[in-house]
């Protein structure tokens, strides 16, 4: 009688084994040569999970040299790919997302109880057994900061040419062009009519594109919020700086258009659930400048109203806007010297910064809050398109 011994398929424990000589191919196929589009439709941050599963196997076999080598090659591979694609928003987002995810995995599975509070029992089985990778976590955190800075630089480079045109020059409110101050230079500065003239919709379209890419690549929501806080600060600072230098922009009608544009941006933030990001707060000086352009500027009461309203603008900025303010027509008066002196007297107690213009290149410090994943390693399988057939599931 023939006896059939049926061997039970061994359970996948969420580890990936490879031979040392395949490390270069692993880094090439998973990091340096990988196109984010290849992984569309798969689990976001798949490379990070695969790398963690490889690290875990090297930890399981107590092979410290393999762990060192894999982490070093991974980090160098990521740096190389970022250098090569230093103007590619999608690629940079992809690697920010994956680097942060790898960092989260190294925390979530470190065995440190502080990072295990949301783990399932199964996830706790997937913790590292032999090595403490705290120092590598620091390196990955530093790398994440570098990638974040590259991402902001790319986004700012795309947005900056649009700002003055979209925020100050484009007239989307109908009938407003009839109430421009005398001598208003239409589309002045470098923004001539034509290709370089942008409307606010172009800015919003660009931000929609950034937001979609970041969400598709599984970037942590807290990081997406910080990206938009940074970008809104830059938009606001560039706009305000231009306003502070351009007489033709300091008018009631520009104030009106500006308030409308800001409200559109605020609405966009609400629509994308980003209103808690702190982005609106970064626009406060610009919001106040727009209001200042629209307030009455004549009596003692007007001066008091201006002083109590414009708390986010410095005395120097308020005075500059008042000095530049251009009446709409012969019926509106210029701001008098006496009025400006009244304002200065009321604000002399303030300890305001001396510089007139905002540092539009200022970067807020970025934070990467710990964000554990609910995925379990044994549920992750490697798609054939990655060409990683030399990895063995253990």
């Amino acid at each position: 009688r023939q006896v059939t011994v049926q061997r039970k398929e061994k359970d996948f424990q969420g580890m990936l084994e490879y031979h040392k000589e395949d490390e270069a191919a692993l880094i090439r196929n998973l990091v340096t040569d990988l196109k984010p589009q290849t992984l569309l439709g798969t689990v976001p941050c798949l490379p990070a999970y695969i790398l963690y599963m490889c690290i875990r196997h090297a930890d399981y076999t107590n092979d410290d040299l393999k762990v060192h080598s894999l982490l070093t090659s991974t980090i160098n591979g990521i740096k190389k790919v970022l250098k090569k694609h230093n103007d590619d928003f999608e690629m940079t987002t992809f690697w920010l997302s994956n680097t942060c995810r790898l960092l989260h995995c190294l925390k979530q599975y470190s065995g440190d109880e502080g990072f295990m509070t949301q783990n399932t029992a199964k996830q706790n089985e997937h913790c590292l057994k032999n090595f403490d990778l705290t120092e590598y976590r620091q390196v990955l955190s530093d790398l994440s900061i570098q990638i974040y800075q590259q991402l902001i630089k790319i986004a700012e480079g795309l947005l900056q040419p649009m700002i003055v045109s979209a925020m100050l020059e484009n007239e989307s409110i109908q009938g407003l062009s009839g109430v421009k101050p005398t001598g208003y230079r239409k589309r002045s500065s470098s923004m001539a009519d034509g290709d370089n003239a942008y409307c606010l919709e172009a800015v919003i379209r660009q931000m929609n594109s950034f937001h979609t890419v970041m969400c598709d690549q599984g970037l942590d929501p807290e990081i997406i919020q910080q990206v938009f806080k940074q970008l809104f600060y830059m938009i606001s600072a560039v706009t305000l700086n231009n306003l502070l230098l351009r007489k033709d922009a300091c008018s009631w009608s520009t104030g009106m258009q500006l308030r409308y544009n800001i409200s559109q941006l605020e609405e966009w933030l609400r629509g994308r659930n980003l209103h808690q990001s702190g982005a609106v707060q970064t626009m406060e000086p610009l919001i106040q400048a727009a209001q200042l352009l629209q307030l009455k500027k004549k009596t003692q009461e007007d001066a008091e109203a201006i002083c109590s309203l414009c708390t986010a603008l410095s005395t120097q900025q308020i005075v500059k806007i008042l000095n530049l303010y251009t009446p709409l027509n012969e019926f509106e008066e210029r701001v008098t010297v006496a009025f400006i002196r009244t304002i200065q007297a009321q604000l002399q107690e303030r300890n305001d910064p001396q510089q007139l213009l905002l540092d539009f290149k200022h970067m807020f410090p970025v934070l990467f809050p710990f964000n554990p994943s609910s995925l379990t390693m044994d549920s992750i399988h490697i798609p054939a398109c990655l060409n990683l057939e030399f990895l063995n599931e253990v």
């Binding site: 410290d64 762990v67 060192h68 982490l71 070093t72 980090i75 160098n76 740096k79 065995g111 590292l128 057994k129 032999n130 090595f131 403490d132 990778l133 705290t134 120092e135 590598y136 620091q138 390196v139 530093d142 790398l143 570098q146």
Partner: protein, 31 residues
Amino acid sequence: STQRPRPRVLLKAPTLAEMEEMNTSEEEESP
């Protein structure tokens, strides 16, 4: 009784800048 897990061994890592330096010198050495 629950077994206390063995303490993990700290793997020393170079800083990001040191890693880059090592990488650059390796690239320079290779033809």
